[in-house]
C-alpha cells in the first residue's frame, strides 16, 4: 500500500505539517485526522510543506477543501509550500492556485502569517 507520513511542528505560532509520500484516497484520512487535531486545539495558522510529497490525488485535495473554510473563518489559512513541479501541476490542473496561497518556500509561507496583511484567497503566486 502507498506510503504517507505527516510530521508536525510549530514555529512562531504557525503550525507546519510536512507531508511525505502519496496522498491519495487511501491515505487522505491521515491528513484529515491531522487537520482535525489542529482545529480541535484551535490552531488555524497552518503551512503544509509539500517538499516530500510525491503525489496528490483529488481525494487528497478534497481534504484541503474540507478544512480551508473553517480555518479561514477563524482568521487563519492553509498555505502550501515547497511543491515539486509534478505536484504543482496537479494543483494547477484542478484550479487550486486560485483558491490557495502556494509559496515556493516554507519560511515565505510562515512570514505571510506574520505580516499583518489580511489573507486574500486567490492571491496565489503563479
Amino acid at each position: 500500500m502507498s506510503e504517507f507520513n505527516i510530521s508536525q511542528r510549530e514555529t512562531k505560532d504557525v503550525n507546519v505539517l510536512e507531508i511525505k509520500g502519496y496522498l491519495d484516497a487511501h491515505t487522505a484520512p491521515k491528513l484529515e485526522d491531522a487537520f482535525q487535531g489542529l482545529l480541535k486545539s484551535s490552531k488555524y495558522k497552518i503551512v503544509v510543506n509539500c517538499k516530500d510529497l510525491s503525489y496528490i490525488s483529488s481525494a487528497g485535495l478534497g481534504v484541503f477543501m474540507a478544512f480551508v473554510e473553517d480555518v479561514r473563518k477563524n482568521k487563519g489559512d492553509i498555505k502550501l509550500s515547497n511543491m515539486s513541479p509534478k505536484v504543482f501541476n496537479i494543483f494547477d490542473l484542478l484550479g487550486f492556485p486560485l483558491l490557495y496561497d502556494i509559496l515556493a518556500d516554507e519560511s515565505e509561507a510562515i512570514n505571510r502569517f506574520l505580516d499583518s496583511k489580511p489573507i486574500i484567497p486567490g492571491n496565489a503566486k503563479k
Binding site: 491519495d24 487522505a28 483529488s58 481525494a59 485535495l61 477543501m65 490542473l93 484542478l94 484550479g95 486560485l98
Partner: protein
C-alpha cells in the same frame, strides 16, 4: 530580447549579404572605414537585416503576448505611431482585438465581423467604406492604418496603428517593407496560436488523465472499503478536490425515502420529499436546466440551499442515491465534462455503497446466527444429559429449541438425604442473554441447595441473587420441588411458572400453583409459600413451559392446557418416555404448517 543583441549579430550572418551586389561592394568600403555606402543600399541592407532579426525574435518566443508586443513595438517605431493593436481572426469571420498598446485596453476582446479586406496595408481614411463597412470598428477605436496579415490567402488578422507623428506619407518601399513584417508576423502568430491550442489540448488531456486516475484510484479504494461512512467521506473528498466545490449533499435511497448521509450547506438541508422528486432524473443535471415533471418544483429550494448540480447515483438503471453540489469556488460554471465525471464517480460509488450495505446485512445475519448457535450451546450444556434414577419414579424430559432459542431450563439434582430437586423454568427473552441468565439461575440453585434451608426461604434467596443480574428487565418463571422417595412427598414452590399438572388415575387433576411471584423482578412482598403433594402409583406429574401450551396452529389458536390435560388423562398407562413423545407429537399435529416460535420443554414423572 534586447536591442543590443540585434546589433551585434549581423556580422555573423553571411547569407543575406551574398545575394546583392551593392552589398558586396559595401564590404571593402566599410572595412576601409572610408566612403559611406550609397544611402539607399545601406537602408536596404539595414532593413533586410532588421527583417531577419525581427523574424528570429518573434519566432523564438512561445508566448503570444510577447510576440504581439514585439511586433507592435517594432512597427510603431518604424512608422512613428504611439498606438498599435493586434486583432486576430478566430475560427469564424470575427476579428477580435488581442493586444493593444496606446489604445484603450478595454478594446481587448472586442471584435467585428470581416467579410472581405484589402490584402495590403491601407489607410482607413481613404478606404472604400461601403465595400468594407467593418473598418468603422477600427476607425472608432482610433486606428488610422491597418496592416492585414494574410497567410496562404487566409486572413490571420490585422495590425492596426494610430495616426503617425510624421507628416510624410509612407513611401511604397516602406509599405512593402511593412507588409513583409506583417507576413512574417502572420506566420509567427499562427505558430504561437497553434502551439497555444496544442497546449490547451494537452492540458485538457492531462485533466482527463487525472480524472481517470481519480476514478481508478477510487475504484480500487472503494472496493476495499466496507464501511459506508468511510465510503461517503472518501466520495466527498474526491468531489471537493476534483472540482473545487465546498457545498454538497449526499443522499442514499432506502425504500421509498432518500436519506441524507452527508451534507455541508448554508441553508436548510433538503429532505425526503424534495429529494425523492429528483429520483427520476436519468443523468447529471444543472439545477438551472431542470425540467419540472410533476407538481413539485425543487429549483427554488435547491437554489436556496446553494446547490447547482444534481447527480443521480444509478445502479441497474435505478436511482439509488443523489449527489448535489454547490458552485465551484472559482465561480466557473460546470462543464459537460465535469458532469460526465460526476456521473462516473457517482455510479462507481453507489456500487460500493450497495455492496457495503449488502455485506453489512450479511454480517448481521451471520452474527445473529452465531449468537443463536452460542445460545443453543449454552442451553444444551446446562440441561442434564442424563437424568438420575429416582427410586419409584419413571422420569423423562425433553427440550426442543426453537430457531431463536429461548431460555427454557429443567434440572434434576440429587441432594442430601437421598432426595431430589426437580426444577423447571423459563427465562424471558431469547438468544444469548436468555441463555446466560439461565446459566446464572442454575449456578445459583446449585450453590444454594447445600445450605439445607427450607424451599420457601431458598426460593427467596434465589430471587435476591438473581435480581441484580436481570436489571429488572428480565425475569424467570420457575417451579421447583424436593422429592423424597421415602414418603413419596413432593414439597414445592411455584414462582410464577405454568402450573405443573398432577394427573391421577382416578381422574382428579391437581395444579401445583402454590408459591409466589416470578423471580428476578423485585423482592416479593411476602415470602414464597410452599405446597406439598404425595404421589401414589400411577400418578403422572407433567411439568412444562409455555412453549407447550402456547404452541399455535395456523389460525393462531393455542394448543392449550385443556388439550394437554385430556391427552395425559387418556394415556395414563404410558410410561414417562412414551408420554413425552405423545405430547410432542400432539403439539406437532396442532401446529402443523407453522414454525415453532418458542422452546418446548417438558418433564414427566410417573410414580411406579
Amino acid at each position: 530580447m534586447s536591442t543590443s543583441n540585434k546589433k551585434s549579430s549581423p556580422h555573423r550572418k553571411s547569407s543575406p549579404r551574398k545575394k546583392s551586389s551593392p552589398r558586396k561592394k559595401s564590404r571593402p568600403a566599410r572595412s576601409a572605414a572610408s566612403a559611406p555606402p550609397p544611402a539607399k543600399s545601406y537602408a536596404s541592407y539595414f532593413e533586410h537585416t532588421a527583417l531577419f532579426e525581427f523574424s528570429k525574435v518573434i519566432n523564438s518566443s512561445l508566448d503570444p503576448q510577447f510576440v504581439y508586443s514585439h511586433i507592435l513595438l517594432t512597427i510603431m517605431g518604424k512608422i512613428l505611431s504611439s498606438k498599435g493593436m493586434v486583432a486576430l481572426a478566430g475560427s469564424g469571420k470575427e476579428v477580435k482585438v488581442e493586444a493593444a498598446k496606446g489604445f484603450s485596453q478595454s478594446l481587448i476582446g472586442k471584435g467585428v465581423v470581416v467579410e472581405a479586406t484589402p490584402s495590403n496595408l491601407f489607410d482607413i481614411s481613404v478606404v472604400d467604406a461601403d465595400r468594407y463597412p467593418w473598418v468603422e470598428f477600427f476607425q472608432q477605436a482610433g486606428v488610422a492604418i491597418l496592416l492585414p496579415m494574410v497567410m496562404a490567402d487566409r486572413l490571420i488578422g490585422f495590425l492596426g496603428f494610430g495616426e503617425r507623428f510624421s507628416p510624410q506619407p509612407l513611401e511604397d518601399q516602406q509599405r512593402t517593407y511593412l507588409q513583409s513584417l506583417a507576413n512574417i508576423s502572420a506566420t509567427a502568430i499562427e505558430k504561437s496560436r497553434t502551439l497555444e491550442e496544442t497546449k490547451q489540448v494537452n492540458r485538457k488531456l492531462d485533466r482527463k488523465i487525472q480524472e481517470m486516475n481519480t476514478l481508478f484510484e477510487l475504484g480500487k479504494e472503494f472496493g476495499s472499503l466496507l464501511d459506508p461512512e468511510k465510503l461517503v467521506r472518501l466520495l466527498v473528498f474526491s468531489l471537493l478536490g476534483q472540482v473545487g466545490v465546498n457545498r454538497y449533499l449526499i443522499a442514499l435511497r432506502g425504500g421509498s425515502d432518500m436519506r441524507v448521509v452527508a451534507s455541508k450547506l448554508d441553508g436548510p438541508v433538503p429532505q425526503g420529499e424534495l429529494l425523492m422528486s429528483l429520483a427520476n432524473l436519468k443523468g447529471p443535471t444543472r439545477v438551472s436546466e431542470y425540467i419540472i415533471k410533476d407538481s413539485i418544483d425543487p429549483r427554488n429550494r435547491l437554489n436556496a440551499a446553494g446547490l447547482h448540480v444534481i447527480v443521480p447515483m444509478q445502479l441497474q438503471g435505478e436511482n439509488r442515491g443523489l449527489i448535489l453540489l454547490g458552485e465551484k469556488l472559482s465561480k466557473e460554471p460546470f462543464t459537460d465534462l465535469d458532469l460526465e465525471f460526476f456521473s462516473s464517480l457517482a455510479n462507481l460509488a453507489i456500487i460500493s455503497l450497495e455492496n457495503a450495505r449488502l455485506f453489512k446485512e450479511a454480517i448481521e445475519k451471520q452474527k445473529l446466527e452465531d449468537e443463536l448457535l452460542i445460545a443453543r450451546e449454552i442451553q444444551k450444556g446446562l440441561l442434564p444429559s442424563v437424568l438420575p434414577d429416582i427410586p419409584g419414579i419413571d422420569i423423562a424430559a425433553t427440550n426442543i429449541s426453537s430457531r431463536q432459542v429461548g431460555g427454557d431450563y429443567y434440572d434434576v439434582i440429587p441432594i442430601e438425604g437421598e432426595r431430589f430437586i426437580i426444577a423447571i423454568g423459563d427465562v424471558s427473552g431469547k438468544g444469548p442473554p436468555a441463555a446466560l441468565l439461565m446459566a446464572n439461575l442454575q449456578a445459583t440453585i446449585r450453590a444454594l441447595v447445600p445450605l439445607n434451608i427450607g424451599l420457601s426461604e431458598l426460593t427467596g434467596k434465589v430471587n435476591s441473587l438473581l435480581c441484580p443480574n436481570t436489571g429488572g428487565s428480565k425475569f424467570v418463571t420457575f417451579f421447583w420441588g424436593i422429592y423424597d422417595p421415602k414418603d413419596r412427598s413432593l414439597s414445592f414452590v411455584n414462582a410464577g411458572h405454568n402450573y405443573p399438572l398432577l394427573v391421577r388415575p382416578r381422574g382428579k387433576v391437581d395444579r401445583l400453583d402454590v408459591g409466589g411471584m416470578i423471580l428476578g423482578i423485585m423482592e416479593p412482598p411476602a415470602p414464597y409459600e410452599q405446597g406439598i403433594v404425595t404421589l401414589t402409583t400411577g400418578d403422572m406429574l407433567v411439568l412444562f413451559t409455555d412453549g407447550v401450551t402456547e404452541a399455535m396452529d395456523k389460525n393462531a389458536v393455542e394448543y392449550g392446557e385443556g388439550r394437554l390435560e385430556s391427552l395425559v388423562s387418556a394415556h395414563l398407562a404410558s410410561n414417562a418416555e412414551e408420554m413425552v413423545d405423545l405430547i410432542h407429537e400432539d403439539i406437532l399435529l396442532h401446529s402443523k404448517g407453522t414454525s415453532q416460535s418458542d422452546d418446548i420443554t417438558m418433564m414427566i414423572l410417573k410414580a411406579v
